[in-house]
C-alpha cells in the first residue's frame, strides 16, 4: 500500500518536473526541475528494493547536473525575467496529452498484475552491491568494458580540449593579466 502511494507520488512528480524542464525558458527552473526529477527517480529504485542503484542514481546525477549548472551560470543570467511564452501550443498539447495517457496507463496497469513477472529477482541474503557486481562482471561484462573505454576516450578528449594553456597559471602568470588588459584597451 505504502509502495503504491509512493510510486504514484513519485511518478506524477517526476513527469511534472521533467515537463517543466522541457517547457520552461527560465534556465533556473529548467535545471532545478531536472535535478529534482533525477533525485526523485532514485525513489523508484528504493521502492523496488534496489537501494544500491538508487543511491548511485542519486550521487551520479547530483554531480552531473551540478556540472550542468556551472555551464548555465556561465552562459545565462539566471535571475533575468523571462517571459514564459509557449510559442508552440501544438507541442504543449501533444506532450500534455501524452503524459496524461501515460498517467492513465500507469494507474490502470495493476489490473493486469499477473502479467508482470520479475525476470531477475534479488538473491536472498546477498547485498544489493554484490548483486549488481555479479551481474555487471558476468552477463554485462562487454557493455561495461565498452562504456569504460568510451568514458576514457571522452576524458582524454576533454583533457586535450581544455589543456591548451594548462602550463600557464591564471593567477601567478602575469601575461594572463596583460591579455585581459589589452582586451579592455581594445574596447
Amino acid at each position: 500500500m505504502y509502495e503504491m502511494v509512493a510510486f504514484y507520488l513519485f511518478s506524477v512528480l517526476t513527469i511534472g518536473l521533467f515537463l517543466i524542464t522541457v517547457m520552461s525558458k527560465n534556465v533556473l527552473y529548467a535545471m532545478t526541475s531536472l535535478a529534482a526529477g533525477m533525485v526523485l527517480i532514485s525513489g523508484f529504485f528504493f521502492i523496488l528494493g534496489a537501494d544500491f542503484l538508487g543511491v548511485v542514481q542519486l550521487i551520479a546525477y547530483v554531480g552531473a547536473i551540478m556540472a550542468l549548472y556551472s555551464f548555465a551560470m556561465m552562459f545565462f543570467d539566471a535571475t533575468r525575467d523571462i517571459k514564459e511564452k509557449n510559442t508552440n501550443p501544438a507541442l504543449v498539447f501533444l506532450l500534455g496529452g501524452l503524459s496524461a495517457v501515460v498517467l492513465v496507463l500507469m494507474f490502470a496497469a495493476p489490473i493486469h498484475s499477473d502479467a508482470i513477472q520479475a525476470l531477475y529477482p534479488m538473491h536472498e541474503g546477498v547485498g544489493n552491491a554484490q548483486d549488481v557486481g555479479i551481474v555487471l562482471f558476468t552477463k554485462y561484462l562487454v557493455p561495461f568494458e565498452v562504456a569504460a573505454l568510451m568514458l576514457l576516450v571522452a576524458m582524454i578528449a576533454g583533457i586535450i580540449l581544455a589543456g591548451k594553456k594548462m602550463d600557464q597559471s591564471l593567477t601567478e602568470d602575469m601575461s594572463a593579466d596583460d591579455e585581459i588588459l589589452t582586451q579592455k584597451d581594445e574596447k
Partner: protein, 347 residues
C-alpha cells in the same frame, strides 16, 4: 525501504514499527536542531578562548542564554526577498540544505536504541531503533544526501540577483565537483576492507577494542576523509562559499531571518553527520554494552571540537589553492591508497 536491524542484533531486539521510526525521526529533528543551536554557542566560546577573549557573556549566566536570544532574533526577523530575485527558487534553497542534512541523519546511528517504558500511555512499549532507516548501503546514502545538500548554496547564490551570490554559487560548484571525488575515493579503501556499506557492519568489524580501529589500517584514508569532510561542510579552511573577506557572505548575502537560520542549521547538522561517519568508519563507532554510547558521543564531540580548532588555527585558502590541493595532491594519494589496499588484500 528495509527497516530490519541487520547483523547480530536481529534475534535479540524487538521488531521496528513505523511508530518507532516516526518517534526516532522526531527525536533526531528536535535534538539535532537544538544541538545545532547550541553548537553556535560552543563555537563562539571555543573561538573566543582560543583568541583570548571571553565570547558572549552578557545574556544569562556565562552567556548561556545568548542561544535563546539568537533564536528569538532569527525567528522574528523579517524575511526579506530581494526584488529581482527568482522568488520561488530563492525561497526553497535554504529548505534544501536543512532537509537534506536531516535526511542524511536518518541513515546514521544517532543515540542508542531503547524501548519506551510501558507506563507511558499510547506510546508505551514502542521500540525506538538507533538508526531511523537502517539501509544496507548507509554510507553511500549519507554521502549522496550530503552532496545533494550543496544544491542549497548553489540555488541560493544563483537565484538572488547579486554578484556575490553568483560567485558563491560558482565556488559551490567548484568545491563540490572536486571534493566529492576525494570523499568517495578516500572512503572506498575502508569499504574494501570491511566488504560492506552498512554502518552496522563497520561497527562490528571494529568491535575488538582500540587495536581493531580502522584508523590504524587506513591512516591515509582517515586524513583524506577528514580534509574532504571539512570541504563538504564548508568549514574553514575551505569556506570559500561564504568567505566574508572576499565575497561578503557568498550565497547567503541576501538571506535574513529564518531562511538564513536554515542554512546554519543545515551546516551544523552536516558537521555532526561528518563527525558520526568519521567516528563509526575510522574510530570504532559505538558498542552496545555498558557505556558504549558515551564513547561515540565523545568521539563525535572531539571531531566537532576539531573543526572549531582548525577554524581558529588556519586561515582560508584561495580557490585555486583548493583545486590544486584536491586534484594534484589529495586525489592521486587517494587512488594510490586504494591500489595499495587492493594489493595488500589480494596478496
Amino acid at each position: 525501504m528495509e527497516t530490519t536491524l541487520a547483523g547480530h542484533a536481529m534475534e535479540t531486539l524487538p521488531h521496528v514499527t513505523w511508530l518507532g521510526v516516526l518517534i526516532k525521526a522526531i527525536i533526531i529533528l528536535a535534538v539535532i536542531s537544538a544541538i545545532a543551536g547550541f553548537g553556535t554557542f560552543i563555537e563562539r566560546k571555543v573561538l573566543a578562548f582560543m583568541q583570548r577573549r571571553l565570547g558572549p557573556m552578557h545574556v544569562g549566566p556565562y552567556g548561556l542564554l545568548q542561544l535563546a536570544a539568537d533564536g528569538i532574533k532569527l525567528f522574528t526577523k523579517e524575511d526579506i526577498i530581494p526584488q529581482n530575485a527568482n522568488k520561488f527558487i530563492f525561497m526553497i534553497a535554504p529548505i534544501i540544505t536543512a532537509a537534506t542534512a536531516f535526511i542524511a541523519l536518518a541513515a546514521v546511528p544517532v543515540f542508542p536504541d531503547f524501548t519506551i517504558p510501558s507506563w507511558i500511555p499510547l506510546l508505551g512499549g514502542t521500540f525506538v531503533p538507533s538508526i531511523a532507516a537502517d539501509l544496507n548501503i548507509g554510507i553511500l546514502f549519507v554521502l549522496g544526501m550530503m552532496a545533494a545538500g550543496l544544491y542549497g548554496p548553489l540555488l541560493a547564490g544563483m537565484s538572488q540577483a547579486n554578484k556575490w551570490g553568483i560567485i558563491g554559487a560558482a565556488r559551490t560548484a567548484v568545491q563540490f565537483l572536486s571534493y566529492e571525488v576525494v570523499t568517495g575515493l578516500s572512503i572506498l579503501a575502508p569499504i574494501m576492507l570491511v566488504g560492506s556499506l552498512s554502518f552496522v557492519d563497520f561497527n562490528d568489524y571494529q568491535s575488538g577494542g582500540i587495536g581493531s580501529w580502522l584508523i590504524w589500517q587506513q591512516p591515509v584514508a582517515f586524513v583524506l576523509f577528514l580534509i574532504a569532510g571539512f570541504a563538504e561542510t564548508n568549514r574553514t579552511p575551505f569556506d570559500l562559499l561564504e568567505h566574508e573577506a572576499e565575497v561578503v557572505s557568498g550565497y547567503a548575502t541576501e538571506y535574513s531571518g529564518m531562511r538564513w537560520g536554515m542554512f546554519f542549521i543545515g551546516e551544523y547538522a552536516n558537521m555532526i553527520t561528518v563527525s558520526i561517519i568519521a567516528a563509526v568508519v575510522f574510530l570504532g563507532g559505538y558498542s552496545v554494552e555498558g557505556i558504549g554510547w558515551l564513547t561515540i558521543i565523545l568521539k563525535v564531540a572531539f571531531f566537532f571540537f576539531l573543526m572549531l580548532w582548525v577554524r581558529a588555527s588556519w586561515p582560508h585558502i584561495r580557490p585555486d589553492q583548493l583545486m590544486w590541493l584536491c586534484w594534484k595532491v589529495l586525489m592521486p594519494i587517494a587512488v594510490i591508497n586504494i591500489v595499495i589496499t587492493g594489493i595488500v588484500m589480494m596478496v
